[in-house]
């Protein structure tokens, strides 16, 4: 399922003195099967954008096309459940949305809202609890007895249980330890590849954007500043620094190295492996001794 944003504008509290323009002229597409990263400074409008992807917010101008539904400004929208089933959103700090007595019931909440029978929902819970890296015993515990990291995983399982076609992640690893971050991101990437899930990742981690995304949108002050492949966008570290953003450590290393040694590598490397390979090529060419 494709999603398209066309000239989307959103104002919070429109028509009151507290009105606030959050995003404007936002246009980009999320083709089926894409992995799109959205980066930008805090307050640049990332979370506002993703709430348009399943019609939690309705644009105040422009339109959002979600599969065959068109959500445009000023129209009264009904029956949004079908849209919400197809687009699952893992919000920032999703552990705050847990409420059921047991983990199993909490994971089943989403699917059951969309009419999945209880048996099937439970089966999904069993499958997913292992997928997010927890053991099956956790299913019968209260979510409030778990650690923060475990709660996060349960909440993520709760969204995956809806079996959406598009998965939207708002800083899913914020506040986790490095190992947990990697485990969770690897799991998302695995889902993306094996099930062809379109994925939208809002992140502060340039490393994650470089590692997983095949397309990247940079937000700045409520507008799309640039869109492109991570490799192109990260090849301009100074420009990103001007927006208060950084580039992955690997890229920074490469730029420092090129500046100091005067040797230009043939491409911007996004991973340590790529960089090692490029450096060894450079050595073979005789640039390094």
């Amino acid at each position: 399922m494709d999603i398209q944003l066309q000239e989307v504008e959103y104002r919070y509290a429109a028509g009151t003195p507290f009105e606030r323009l959050a995003i404007q002229h936002v246009s980009f597409a999320i083709p089926e099967g894409a992995f799109l990263a959205v980066i930008g400074h805090t307050g640049s409008g990332k979370s506002t954008i993703i709430q348009h992807l399943n019609a939690l917010l309705q644009p105040t101008k422009g339109k959002v096309i979600i599969g065959d539904r068109v959500i445009s400004a000023g129209k009264k929208e009904k029956n949004l459940k079908a849209v919400r089933k197809k687009v699952g959103i893992v919000f920032q700090f999703p552990e705050h949305q847990l409420f059921e007595e047991t983990v199993e019931k909490d994971i089943s909440y989403g699917p059951m809202n969309f009419g999945v029978p209880e048996e099937e929902a439970k089966r999904r819970a069993q499958k997913l609890i292992r997928q997010v890296g927890l053991s099956e015993e956790v299913l019968q515990k209260s979510p409030f007895d778990l650690s923060g990291g475990q709660m996060r995983r349960v909440a993520i399982a709760g969204v995956l249980a809806m079996e959406p076609d598009v998965l939207v992640l708002d800083e899913p690893t914020a506040g986790l330890d490095p190992r947990g971050r990697k485990e969770i991101m690897d799991m998302f990437y695995d889902l993306h590849q094996k099930r062809g899930l379109s994925t939208v990742l809002v992140t502060h981690s340039m490393e994650d954007a470089a590692l997983y995304a095949d397309e990247m949108v940079i937000m700045h002050k409520g507008k799309v500043y640039k869109q492109g492949k991570p490799r192109e966008l990260f090849s301009q570290p100074d420009e990103l620094a001007g927006l208060g953003l950084s580039v992955p450590d690997v890229v920074r290393f490469q730029h420092r190295f090129e500046a100091l040694s005067g040797i230009q590598l043939t491409k911007t490397c996004l991973t340590i492996d790529e960089l090692a390979e490029e450096l060894s090529h450079a050595k073979k060419r005789g640039g390094l001794s």
Binding site: T16, F18, Q51, L56, R84, I89, F91
Partner: protein, 265 residues
Amino acid sequence: MMEKMIFGRYLPLQSAVHQLDPRAKLLFIFGFVIVVFLANNALSYAVLAAFTFVLIYLSKINIRFLFAGLKPVIWLIAFTFLLHIFLTKEGDLLVEVGFLKVYEGGVRQGAFISLRFLLLIFVTSLLTLTTSPISITDGLESLLNPFKKLKLPVHELALMMSISLRFIPTLMDETDKIMKAQMARGADFSSGPIKDRIKAVVPLLIPLFVSAFKRAEELAVAMEARGYRGGEGRTKYRLLHWKWKDTVALSLLFVLAAVLWRLRS
């Protein structure tokens, strides 16, 4: 979703009303609530309404905005109006529909009471819109100070109030966030039979309570860690200054009361 709520929100502007001492405004409201009951005929209600609109004008708050903020209570007002229309049996019979009889007195009563309600809401909204929560609390604490002698825990009450006021917006934001998170999981808060809607609130309330308790605990720890030990011997960072304008504002209320007293029948 919650962003249209104006109740309890402060709108920092520069206006004569904003600059009044919070004590003056609190006493004014207190007096106004009593004075409102003096009006009992069309003329006195007209004066009362005019007075209120002048206040709103002076506060520079957009009147459209005040009306928008009425939405949550409009049903309550409509209900009181209808109740009066159908239950008061005074004056001439105006219309009769089946067993329902509408009398002239009922319409008058209904209109007056609704107007009274409306004006009270406007004026109290003006208080919170033009006074920061901190000032309201300082004002209340200062006004209640004499009651300390009666062992009333004035400082603690003021503190409780300022904390509550401080957390209203936070709780609103939180409500909004959790509602959206559950809606993204297929929850439906706005349609379906009433029984389902009540059930739909559970996934909202539990996370809210959990986070409110967590916040309360964190706040208590943070306050203790910084050596908070109650109001004894505590001085104020912001001091209140009673100015002549405040006296004028309060006198206006007496003038209003006198006028209404003359006009009432």
